[in-house]
């Protein structure tokens, strides 16, 4: 029986279930808490989502309990927050306590509870958007126009006391633009916007955020129309342009100043200062004499090559000692204006050597020096003249010659100076003129050549100091003199050829020749100098006739009988007294 009752109850229940199921009724589904938010950290609101109600009217209740409390409370306000919400007022809100909130769905069939939500008010702060957003265009005098945006803090936020710390974000854009221009502010409730485009419609939005929490929603768009005549004078652009142009001008001026100098130098090139090639003025300034001299030296000083050429051109000097007395044709060319009388008798004359020190200074100074003219009794001074030429005079007979006669050697083609060829020892300063006889004697003595024994003959070798524009210098070297002194076969030589008299010893020493007189015709009459040694003077003979010119440019004079007679006749009285004892 009992079993029958139990089974009957079950059967009825199942019948009811089936009936209800057929009707579509069931306990409600579990609701779900969506979110809880606190707008000002003073209150908060929770929202839930109801599930399926099961076909029956369902009531939702929210229950909660706080951390540290066991008492379960029910939601104080279901209405303020809207449907399916629970609003917790200030007195029900504790900031730093955890809330455990549950929503229950109850219907006839059953109760469903949601999962608990652990809420901490501090972390669910999300303010409302700022309120009272106003836009205003301002045109202040002497200043740029701007858009003035104003707003006020959102509701339910206590900013003044410092409980709620807030910051704002404003964004604006022209209506048709896509990108927003954003600005941030802290605490300020106004903003000034410059640089607006005239004739545009601007949209403005604002939102805010607490110091720790969520951003609010954007406020509704606020729009403003910028009038077309909105004076947006962007003076900053002009200022920038002005500065840029000034900078460019400065750069150009600077470039011109730099290049202008070079331009000026191109147009008017500066006069170059005097410069010595290879010479550094700074060395002079520094006073480094050594370097200076070195610099100078490097300039081919002394000019050896040129001098050499000159020397080679005009002078050939040979050493008498080692060489045979061979006639050597003179290599030097003769200058213009050489007298036909000039013959290259002196073969070795003119061959100079640049190594000779005495030669150098005189040679290089006057390479083109002409041979000295015939000197009158002022001859000895001419001897200093480097141009003078020694002539080897051989005067076997001494005739008294008044005055002093310079003795010259015939010049070579070169008129270059020829110093006294012989070593100074040969030059006896006692005499006012060269003692050619001594010279020749010495030369002959040293060389061992034959001395002229012209004394024995009536031929005298005299060299007149005629101006011979030969330009050739003769060096009274031993060789030359010996040549001159020695006999040699010469053509057209006035020189007597005492070939048979080549023996060295001269019976009679050479003597000076004195100019006796100059005849009316301008003929020079020469007498051998009286030699006291030889006792009684011989009959003076007047040598005024040129016999020949030797190779060494020695004039050979012979007594002119005609003239002699004349002179004898002319001056018998003159001569006679001295002659007669």
């Amino acid at each position: 029986m009992k079993e029958n009752a139990a089974s009957r109850v079950v059967f009825i229940l199942l019948l009811f279930l089936s009936v209800s199921l057929l009707n579509g009724q069931s306990p409600p589904e579990k609701p779900k808490l969506v979110k809880c938010r606190s707008p000002g950290k003073e209150t908060f609101t929770c929202w839930w989502e109801p599930g399926a109600d099961g076909g029956l009217p369902t009531n939702y209740t929210l229950t909660y309990h706080k951390e540290g409390e066991t008492l379960i409370h029910e939601c104080p306000d279901y209405k303020t927050g809207g449907p399916n919400s629970c609003y917790f007022s200030k007195k029900h809100t504790s900031i730093w306590k955890m809330y455990v909130i549950t929503v229950n769905a109850i219907n006839q069939m059953g109760i469903s509870s949601s999962d608990p939500l652990y809420v901490h008010v501090t972390y669910i702060v999300e303010p409302e958007p700022p309120a009272n957003l106003t836009l205003e265009l301002k045109h202040p005098e002497d200043r740029k126009p701007y858009l003035w945006i104003k707003w006020s803090p959102p509701t339910m936020t206590d900013v003044k006391s410092g409980w709620f710390i807030i910051q704002y974000e404003i964004r604006l854009k022209p209506e048709k633009a896509t990108d927003w221009e954003t600005h941030f502010t802290l605490k300020q409730t106004q903003l000034k916007i410059f640089n607006l485009y005239p004739g545009q419609k601007y949209l403005v939005q604002i939102r805010c955020k607490p110091d720790h929490g969520y951003w609010s929603e954007w406020s509704p768009e606020s729009s403003i129309q910028i009038p077309n005549d909105f004076p947006v004078k962007d003076t900053s652009m002009w200022i920038f342009v002005a500065i840029l142009s000034a900078v460019i001008c400065l750069i150009m001026v600077w470039a011109v100043a730099l290049k202008g100098y070079s331009m000026v130098t191109c147009i008017l090139p500066p006069v170059p200062g005097p410069k010595i090639k290879g010479f550094d003025v700074h060395l002079l300034e520094k006073g480094k004499s050594e370097e200076l001299l070195r610099a100078l030296e490097s300039q081919d000083f002394p000019p050896t090559s040129d001098c050499e050429d000159l020397l080679m051109e005009f002078i050939e000097v040979d050493d008498c000692e080692d060489q045979q007395l061979m006639p050597r044709p003179s290599k030097e060319h003769t200058e213009q204006g050489v007298k036909p009388m000039h013959l290259d008798l002196d073969s070795d004359s003119g061959r100079g050597s640049c190594d000779s020190p005495s030669l150098l200074s005189e040679k290089c100074d006057e390479p083109q020096a002409h041979p000295s003219k015939f000197h009158t009794p002022e001859g000895p001074e001419k001897l200093e003249n480097p141009e003078t030429n020694l002539t080897c005079l051989q005067a076997p007979q001494s005739t008294s010659v008044e005055g002093k006669i310079p003795y010259f050697l015939a010049n070579g083609p070169k008129s270059s100076t020829w110093p006294f060829p012989q070593p100074p020892s040969l030059y006896s300063p006692r005499y006012s003129y060269h003692n050619i006889a001594d010279v020749c004697e010495l030369a002959l003595g040293m060389a061992g050549t034959t001395a002229t024994s012209l004394d024995q003959t009536d031929q005298h070798a005299l060299k007149a100091s005629k101006t011979i524009e030969t330009g050739r210098e003769g060096k009274a070297t031993k060789q030359r003199e010996s040549e001159g002194c020695s006999s040699k076969p010469d053509q057209d030589t006035v020189w007597p050829r005492p070939q048979d008299k080549t023996p060295l010893i001269s019976a009679k020493p050479l003597e000076y020749v004195e100019i006796h007189k100059v005849s009316q015709d301008g003929v020079l009459a020469l007498f051998p100098k009286q030699n006291e040694k030889f006792g009684a003077p011989e009959a003076s003979k007047e040598y005024s006739k040129v016999s020949r010119v030797t190779d060494s440019n020695i004039l050979v004079l012979v007594p002119d009988p005609q003239a002699q007679n004349l002179t004898l006749l002319e001056e018998p009285a003159k001569k006679a007294p001295p002659a007669l004892p």
């Binding site: 504790s94 900031i95 652990y118 006391s161 410092g162 110091d211």
Partner: protein, 230 residues
């Protein structure tokens, strides 16, 4: 004893800081009723002290929130640690105001001493937190770096608060009892879940207390410096 000595040392350091800041930031004296002896006696600007303190407390709260979120994301998903985090903070014994009205009715002296107590009570837990997070296997650098930063900033804020306290309430006694943290064993337990739960609790409490300090300071700042006209 330890706190006394450390506070004296910190006080001398603060004096030096005061002198230096006076030289650098002489902005004049804020005419607030807080300086009882008149404007001439407040050497360092209270405004600057408050500004600095607010900045630091804000920073600490940001760091704490980030650190908690990191930990929650990595270690506490689906574990229900939060259920066990209720009533787990060692500073809950402090009578801190729980809403705005209560906070506004609390005298600034009380508020300041509460702040000081909170700051002091967190010195030790922060130190251990750094040590234990370092030892935690696979601890992300985000958590560790923030823990280290928070520990430093906490000390800095404590110094600043003590200076402000000295200025606002001259002659007030320094030594106030503060809650002592005793959660070290739970941080070092071998049970991983228990350990992570302990970490979770600690980070949760840190986040909350840093929020409290931040809010109280900002409230005091507006009240004292700006006369409730922020």
């Amino acid at each position: 004893m330890d706190s006394k000595g450390s506070s004296q040392k910190a006080g001398s350091r603060l004096l030096l800081l005061l002198v230096v800041s006076n030289l650098l930031l002489c902005q004049g004296v804020v005419s607030t009723p807080v300086c009882p002896n008149g404007p001439g006696n407040c050497q360092v600007s209270l405004r600057d002290l408050f500004d600095r303190a607010v900045m630091v407390s804000h920073y600490i709260h940001d760091l704490s929130s980030e650190m908690f979120n990191e930990f929650d994301k990595r270690y506490a998903q689906g574990k229900g640690f939060i259920t066990m985090a209720l009533n787990s903070c060692h500073t809950s014994s402090l009578p801190t105001p729980e809403d705005k009205e209560q906070a506004q009715q609390t005298h600034h002296e009380v508020l300041m001493s509460l702040i000081l107590g909170l700051l002091r009570s967190w010195n030790d837990p922060l130190y251990h937190l750094v040590t234990e997070v370092r030892g935690m296997k696979g601890a992300p650098d985000a958590i560790l770096s923030r823990a280290i930063e928070i520990e430093e900033e906490n000390k800095r804020l404590l110094e600043g608060m003590e200076m402000i306290f000295g200025q606002v309430i001259p002659g007030a006694k320094e030594t106030e009892p503060y809650p002592v943290w005793s959660g070290l064993p739970s941080l070092q337990t071998k049970d991983e879940d228990a350990r992570y739960s302990a970490f979770y609790n600690l980070l949760h409490c840190l986040r909350r207390d840093s929020s409290k300090i931040d809010t109280y300071l900002k409230l005091l700042n507006c009240r004292i410096i700006y006369n409730n006209n922020c």
